[in-house]
Assembly symmetry: C2
Homo-oligomer: 272 residues x 2
């Protein structure tokens, strides 16, 4: 019998998955969490599916060894390559990835059956979101666009201002200025929720934007609630961070992703 | 006795070093060249000096095995970490890195003894250019700035336009708008020569800009000329490319760095 008091485990190749942790913290403020960023081996996106699966199993094993009640793969590349392998390997532990919840929310959000998805070059190139959207809603029209500079913008902490908006506009305007434009934008990269403000400025306040970090957090909440593992009792919450490279750099870059309300303290270096 | 007809070997962690190859091709149009981009294992910048040295030795060995007359380390990170090891290991083969030629040219170019250097976070963080400048000209003032987004801009092929200029301005204006500003900008990243046009727009036409790709090419020319190994006879020139990951992607991204005058054909996949 799994103990509801156990923490949730989250892993990512770097700090991007912290937007998923932040979304989970907002929705489930009483849960303890363990976050592992495999920063020494990033980026996963340029590696082969076999290598990514091996890395994901190592990272997840580290979290499982500390006892967790649910595992979140807060990394699009690792979700696309390794979700089935992780589910098989750690069964009956629930394992939730970031692709499916975002795709489901986008299908529900779109009215005209045309969804735009933006992500890294690797995620778009491997078609993870395109496949998930087609599977959930056969015949749906998908416009997919790799937006590499948005990742760099987020990591640099340039989340507002003229430069930021002009870059977002250069990516999105060609997609949304057309007659038969999509009516929903799916953020298929964990870095992109940081750029919600310039994205809203470019698309307008009424745009339907699906944030896969947020929809993943909702999916985790539903899973815990349905299995009776949700913590609702108040108490001191513990969030711990692990990284495979420079803890100081992890804390510095990571704090951009978590914001001031959730400081990153005591990052522990681990070897996988 | 080394044969002047042998090709020059060049290696980099990715495609950035192609700006060095392009500069060499302009200055030494009759030389054959072999270029190896270790794209499967990039970025080198986040790895430890020991690992980088091991990778650099493997990449260089591959080129040396094909017989070359000179080796160029067209990668700032590998130069900083592995230049002495490569020189020892492959002696008496001449080995030239990208840091020293750029630093030398910057020292010669500056009139007020204050040089700005821009590079990746890893290069700036490890202080390779700062150390080289101090060694060449003790007491020189150096303002160093990591410009991560410029790398992403170059790889995305956004080399002109409003977005590009506003990003360059956001990095450079705080450095150059001061009373005691540097009078020379050293481009300490192989990607940055691609952004020379927006950099000139921001700094003005009279700015002293030292392109380390170009100064490295000059250094190679001097070395070959002084040892009698320069090829001056006209003939069919052969430039061959090797990569450790997706050759198609190498050709596509690489062509941004080489321009239309030097098409990338027949990229060969190698395993190191």
């Amino acid at each position: 019998m799994t103990d509801g008091k156990l923490p949730i485990g989250i892993f990512d190749s770097g700090v991007g998955g912290l937007t998923v942790l932040a979304a989970m913290q907002r929705r489930m403020p009483h849960e303890d969490m363990l976050y592992l960023g495999d920063t020494a081996r990033l980026p996963y996106g340029t590696k082969s599916p076999d290598t990514i699966t091996r890395y994901a199993l190592q990272a997840a094993s580290r979290l499982v060894a500390q006892r967790i009640k649910l595992l979140v793969i807060a990394c699009n590349t690792a979700t696309a390559a390794a979700l089935p392998a992780l589910r098989r390997h750690f069964a009956p532990l629930p394992v939730i990835g970031v692709v499916e919840p975002g795709a489901t929310a986008a299908v529900e959000s779109s009215r005209n059956g045309h969804v735009a998805v933006i992500a890294t070059e690797a995620t778009i190139g491997r078609g993870a979101y395109q496949e998930a959207l087609q599977r959930l809603c056969p015949g749906i029209r998908v416009t997919a666009k790799a937006c590499s500079l948005l990742v760099a913008l987020a990591e640099e902490g340039w989340l507002n201002g003229r430069e930021c908006e002009s870059i977002v506009a250069r990516y999105l305007n060609p997609i949304f200025a057309r007659e038969d434009a999509p009516d929903c934008l799916l953020l298929g990269c964990t870095h992109f929720p940081l750029l919600l403000s310039p994205i809203r400025k470019v698309l307008g306040p009424d745009a339907r934007i699906v944030d896969s970090a947020d929809t993943t957090a909702q999916c985790v909440l539903d899973e815990l609630a349905s299995t009776g593992l949700l913590r609702i009792r108040k108490g001191k919450v513990q969030i711990r961070f692990f990284t495979t490279d420079d803890p100081e750099r992890f804390a510095r870059t990571g704090s951009l992703f978590l914001g001031a309300s959730l400081p990153i303290k005591a990052v522990q270096l681990v070897d996988l």
